[in-house]
Symmetry: C2
Subunit: 183 residues, 2 copies
């Protein structure tokens, strides 16, 4: 499995950027297209409107039972009907990272039901998480959501519910990059 990926915004790429929406903190510059490619961390950074890197890694919060339930319901990426995607880079606050593992888990799931809420939108909204805090990147996570245009309203409802949770008081920067597959 490829583990390291770069999302690069510029003039070319298989995804057209429909809009970039700043939710919290510094915005990202405009661009017309986005590419997603496996990389090595030693690769130099090509010129781009912006680029963000992340690594597919082990699970940090999901329990065995939760994972089993998610695996039964979730769909993979690259379904033919899933022609729209949203990339959401997020940075959490120093307060978040200063908490011990059990405190972070408590806020994320017992208080905020992050995993349970996400599961309600499966299999319609497929999702893949990339970690980047420990790569020295400006963001902590990149989440890639992929779905059919018919599920756009459901996806907005997912975002609204998550943003109303206690977990989101720890979000310092968040940007939505809305994409359509450029066929």
């Amino acid at each position: 499995m490829e583990r390291f990926y770069e999302f690069r915004a510029g003039k070319r790429g298989p995804w057209r950027i429909d809009r970039i929406v700043s939710i919290a903190g510094d915005p990202l510059p405009a661009a017309s297209h986005l590419s997603v490619d496996p990389i090595s961390l030693s690769d130099g950074r090509a010129s781009a409107a912006f680029s963000v890197r992340g690594v597919r890694s082990n699970e940090r919060y999901t329990s065995t039972a939760e994972r089993s339930s998610l695996t039964q319901r979730q769909a993979g990426l690259d379904r033919p009907e899933a022609t729209v995607a949203v990339l959401i880079p997020i940075t959490k606050s120093a307060d978040w990272w200063g908490m011990a593992q059990d405190e972070r888990r408590h806020v994320l799931e017992e208080q905020s039901r992050h995993i349970a809420i996400g599961a309600e939108y499966l299999p319609a909204v497929a999702r893949r998480l990339y970690h980047c805090r420990d790569l020295g990147e400006p963001f902590d996570f990149l989440t890639w959501f992929e779905f059919a245009p018919d599920h756009a309203a459901a996806f907005q409802s997912l975002l609204q519910r998550l943003r109303a949770t206690p977990e989101w008081t720890y979000v310092a920067r968040e940007v939505e990059i809305h994409l359509t597959r450029d066929t």
Copy 2:
């Protein structure tokens, strides 16, 4: 706080390498000295017998109560009497990384008492953990232990007890790099 560090083995450095002991998996080549320096991940790698990189990151398993107890007991690095150090790079197996968070925590602490055993050797044996699996490095973690020569036997006992635990059945590669401060 500096977050990214490189441990470089070669002809120079403030730590003299007394011996390198392979415990499991591939060994590391011999060298006379070790340097420890903050880096940026974009820095090129200088010529070296070997070099390993890691990042100081958030805690992955320690609970709030455990952290509070550790904080009360632990000593910092760079104590004048702590003239010896041991750097232990470790790689865990795919089975380890395939487990969910609660399973890994269960093996690490409820079955193996990793955090509790380590705490028994505080403040004599100071310790700092660096993560490197998500940097694409050959090792998953680097643990730096620092203590006075009088505590060398206690340190060996710590290693023996940890290696007898269920957690250690998931260790695929482990190397001890024994060091003395070169004054």
